[in-house]
Symmetry: none
Subunit: 131 residues, 4 copies
DNA sequence: GTGGTCTAGACCACC
DNA sequence: GTGGTCTAGACCACG
């Protein structure tokens, strides 16, 4: 999977890497067992420091999404079929979701608009998930 | 409305203040015209510096959510009935939503789980909104 | 002339009073010799503290636009026919104008748009000036 | 571009910084992509606190005029060729312009004087804009 | 080394 | 009493 980032975004580079990998897993372009580019390779491709890639991969490893080995490089260890998340994850996630959903509502999006948008996004994931 | 924050969160304090106010607006505890505590008062209540509260309020003012006057202090100027958001807001919001929804899917939440959770959250907003 | 202000503007109340009087002079609704409401009267009409009105009038007095007497109240002492401004005024004014014109240009308004807008504004003044 | 401010002006320092940058963009000394001094560097040059520079830069970022990154520092993201402003900007701008133009007229500048001065200022911008 | 966040304390402008 | 501005110094996050 090709990872693209915005060098001049306000989102930290390492987090953009994290976000792109997670989105790749969500929409089915990445599955458990797939390999990602080595840190140095990806850093070279993106034109950034390999420490930055390293940090991005590391946050995914801490999240049990990647396995990092000296031998095989970065390997995806989890995808939507790997079973349900831990309850504590769901709780934390709901807190983050609440904040972003509240933002939409407070700014004038209707309940329907918000839910429709969410449905479209996750449907887009599902569509790519079964190619 | 009582604002509570986590002093040891990785989310900046000023942004937590912002998030709590926005959530208050979304769930109907705050309406356009309502007053918020003064910066120094809230800072005192939360045990933090008033500059931090100031910054949180300031981000809300930039977003046309609060009005800060030397006379009346901080006053809410926007709520879900204040009209639809600008199209560019919706686009940016969708990008943020995609990241968080992808995170849930990648961590094993099913499409239905995610959408149900979203629906519950916004329904909870709506319930409080019409007391 | 009826003076109207926005109680919840980010522009200080005393300066709004000043701005409205100046606009009244510019567009011909106020002429040299005209009387303005007394500070207490205007304060009452606007629902604000008379000290605030006092301050607004005072800035106009410092600028030789108003004369404040115990007897006649506030009297306009200058209008567009009272002769040219002092050179130092023009220099200061040009500095302020440069800032606001630069803002328009930097934000994408064309030279023509800016000049046309300025012409319309001053023409509007002139139209009211000769009733 | 060299930024100069007046330490004893009644205009806040952070706003003077903002104004000088905007003027630099308007008159063509600054273009999209140009770098500005780092906050600490500029603060040191001007003999003021870096927080003050920070606030000035921050207002420009909110206005989509600057991009602040930890990597490249402060980079200009907008110039007169970046497209037209939003309609609501023009409306607000016209209000500000009216106040300052009325001030000139009320102080005795003729309609022609005012328009000529405006034309000279924006022409000066244009002249620098195409070197 | 860059900007970001937070604290602390001072003084001013406005009302 | 309110928010606004400025200074000063600390530590963190990012690259």
């Amino acid at each position: 999977m090709i990872i693209e980032i915005e060098l001049d975004s306000d989102v930290p580079l390492y987090q953009q890497i994290r976000d792109r990998v997670v989105e790749g897993i969500a929409d089915g372009r990445l599955h458990a067992g797939d390999s990602l580019p080595s840190t140095r390779q990806l850093a070279s491709d993106l034109g950034i420091n390999f420490h930055t890639v390293n940090k991005g991969y590391d946050t995914l490893r801490e999240d049990n999404v990647l396995r990092l080995t000296r031998k095989s490089g970065a390997v995806v260890t989890r995808d939507p079929t790997s079973g349900p998340p831990e309850p504590q994850y769901v709780v934390k996630w709901a807190g983050r979701a609440k904040t972003i959903l509240a933002d939409a509502i407070a700014h004038g999006m209707s309940t329907d608009d918000v839910l429709t948008a969410c449905r479209e996004i996750v449907t887009e994931f599902k569509r790519g998930d079964t190619p």
